[in-house]
């Protein structure tokens, strides 16, 4: 594997800027049969909480035009099982592990960060202050600058791992939130998490999700995500990991041009579980053929000044 795509996100170095998004690639270990996950820039694992979580009542997923809704509710095996059972496998597989953490309070976030700080093989923490599918914490932390920076600071103080803060698209002024988490010590920003949506089965008159609302992801939200990355890029100095509806390599370029330094591929993993490594190949070919590096693309959208 060549270094042609290697990127530096603050203190975090990745062999390439293609990361699989939290919640859409499990713990990574499930893909051993069909691909070499060490070829990915990173794997952001399913959100981990201190205790295992069972998740929300079914149905939990449904498809919508150009996208999907999910209301998983952060179902996960919890810190202990992840560290004891999953991390050893991930280390053996040579995966670059970004741990997505979720807590219901500043203290829980800090406790998770403190514990993961000592876990071998964790490359970075991604702080999920933007989950729309939980009653406590989640998105509420992500829509105000004050609470976003509070969580960021709580995590920052207790870990020397690179800290990525994952933003919610539902914030009114995302550049402000971006600046707030930057000032609170985030090394990078990842964006965007899902938007809350709802779909009703008109035959049964019931919501198509057991939890009534869920998060919208997939190509449908790409224009919104690209716009937000562009806006935040102009406001902050730390790198942005862009995501939202990436379905092919061209979409990755779009996020880079808008201001992303790396990307995450989410819903598209369901369409094609090997899509992320295919994108790595295409990116390598693209940069090789042009003699350029991903970093040359960041924020390079050409805006004509409008008079």
């Amino acid at each position: 594997m060549s270094d042609i795509l290697a990127v530096q996100l603050g203190p975090l170095r990745l062999v390439n800027p293609i990361i699989t998004a939290s919640g859409t690639f499990g713990y990574g270990v499930e893909y051993a049969d069909i691909m070499d996950v060490s070829r990915l820039g990173g794997i952001s694992v399913k959100g981990i909480s201190l205790e295992p979580r069972a998740g929300n009542p079914p149905p939990r997923v449904c498809e919508t035009p150009g996208g999907m809704l999910n209301s998983i509710g952060l179902a996960n095996i919890g810190y202990d099982a992840f560290v004891d059972r999953t991390m050893p496998v991930l280390r053996r597989m040579g995966a670059t592990v970004i741990v997505n953490i979720y807590g219901t309070s500043h203290d829980e976030f800090a406790e998770l960060a403190r514990r993961f700080d000592k876990v071998e093989g964790v490359a970075a923490l991604e702080v999920n202050i933007s989950c729309p599918n939980v009653k406590e914490g989640g998105i509420h932390f992500g829509v105000s600058g004050k609470s976003a920076s509070g969580v960021t600071r709580a995590v920052r103080e207790v870990t020397s791992l690179p800290v990525i803060v994952k933003l919610s698209p539902e914030a009114l002024d995302l550049p402000d939130i971006g600046k707030a988490v930057q000032d609170a010590g985030a090394d990078a920003i990842s964006m965007i998490n899902t938007f809350r949506g709802m779909s009703i089965d008109v035959e049964t008159r019931k919501p198509r999700l057991g939890a009534v609302m869920g998060g919208l992801s997939g190509p449908a939200i790409r224009p919104l995500a690209v716009r937000m990355v562009y806006q935040v890029f102009k406001a902050v100095n730390i790198p942005i990991i862009g995501m939202g509806g990436i379905a092919c390599f061209r979409d990755v370029l779009e996020f880079f041009l808008a201001g992303a330094s790396a990307v995450q591929v989410g819903t598209a993993n369901f369409t094609d579980p090997t899509i992320a490594v295919k994108i790595v190949d295409e990116f390598e070919e693209y940069c090789g053929a042009r003699g350029i590096h991903p970093a040359d693309l960041i924020g390079k959208v050409e805006i004509q000044e409008v008079k």
Partner: protein, 256 residues
């Protein structure tokens, strides 16, 4: 489990609103009855999620039986021989075959739930076990693979409108069968209400019953946690990784 591109080698319309797609050929899928594949055509942006289909073996070749119920299945039904399919599988846990079949085996199918049971019937017959096949539908036009089943084992059909076979629900012949075979193994796939009735009847008779469930899925391989169902103990189980085949008591409990 594998993920691959393949092509449709053959198509057949076994009943209205149903199509059988064969794709073996270059395709390494070899699964067990009750396992499934996630399938998508090469149709661009929408719909984005693949669809789950039980593996079938029809004429000794791997296939899926698709019932046309919505956007994705419509698209699959309108594909042509030679068109590309993207297939992930085999996935999930299939039925666990009984080591002991002296008490008899009943396969109870409702609607398109026939697919995994046809496959199971074939495997049982190959092993020298003759199951009885109880196949229920709303009406006689909705009985895909009926002739195929008839050829390999003993088939009893029930239709709600009485147009073919016995009039009524498929639980009626099952109850009769269980009266003479109370220690039989029952395998069932179909609408949830039917599965619950089948489970109840079986458990009441003292038979062991396995049911294959459905649930909306995104990944099909245990990563998204989207396919949760609530089991009898109030815990979430995942259809794609804990199932689709479950012991009926795990899901519907022991109460008759």
């Amino acid at each position: 489990m594998d993920y691959f591109k393949t092509r449709i080698t053959r198509m057949e319309i076994p009943a209205r609103d149903h199509v059988i797609l064969w794709f073996r050929g270059d395709c390494p899928v070899e699964g067990d009855p009750g396992q499934f594949v996630m399938v998508r055509g090469n149709w661009g942006a929408h719909p984005i999620l693949p669809r789950a289909f039980s593996l079938v073996e029809v004429g000794k070749e791997g296939a899926i039986l698709v019932r046309n119920v919505g956007e994705g299945t419509n698209l699959l039904a309108s594909m042509k021989q030679g068109d590309e399919l993207l297939v992930l599988g085999p996935l999930g846990r299939g039925f666990s075959l009984p080591s002991e079949t002296g008490g008899g085996v009943a396969l109870v199918a409702g609607g398109v739930g026939v697919a995994p049971l046809v496959f199971l019937a074939q495997r049982l017959v190959d092993k020298g076990v003759k199951p009885v096949f109880l196949y229920g539908a709303r009406t006689g036009a909705d009985l895909p693979l009926r002739d195929h089943i008839d050829e390999i084992c003993d088939l009893t059909i029930t239709t709600e409108d009485g147009s073919v076979g016995e009039k009524g629900l498929v639980t009626a012949p099952l109850e009769r069968f269980l009266q003479t075979n109370p220690t039989a193994s029952v395998f069932s796939c179909g609408p949830e209400a039917m599965l619950e009735a089948v489970a109840r009847v079986s458990v009441a008779a003292g038979a062991r019953c396995q049911v294959a469930l459905e649930s909306p899925m995104a990944c099909g391989m245990g990563v998204c946690k989207g396919c949760a169902i609530l089991d009898a103990a109030g815990e979430y189980r995942y259809v794609c990784s804990d199932g689709p085949a479950f012991e009926s008591v795990e899901i519907f409990g022991r109460e008759p």
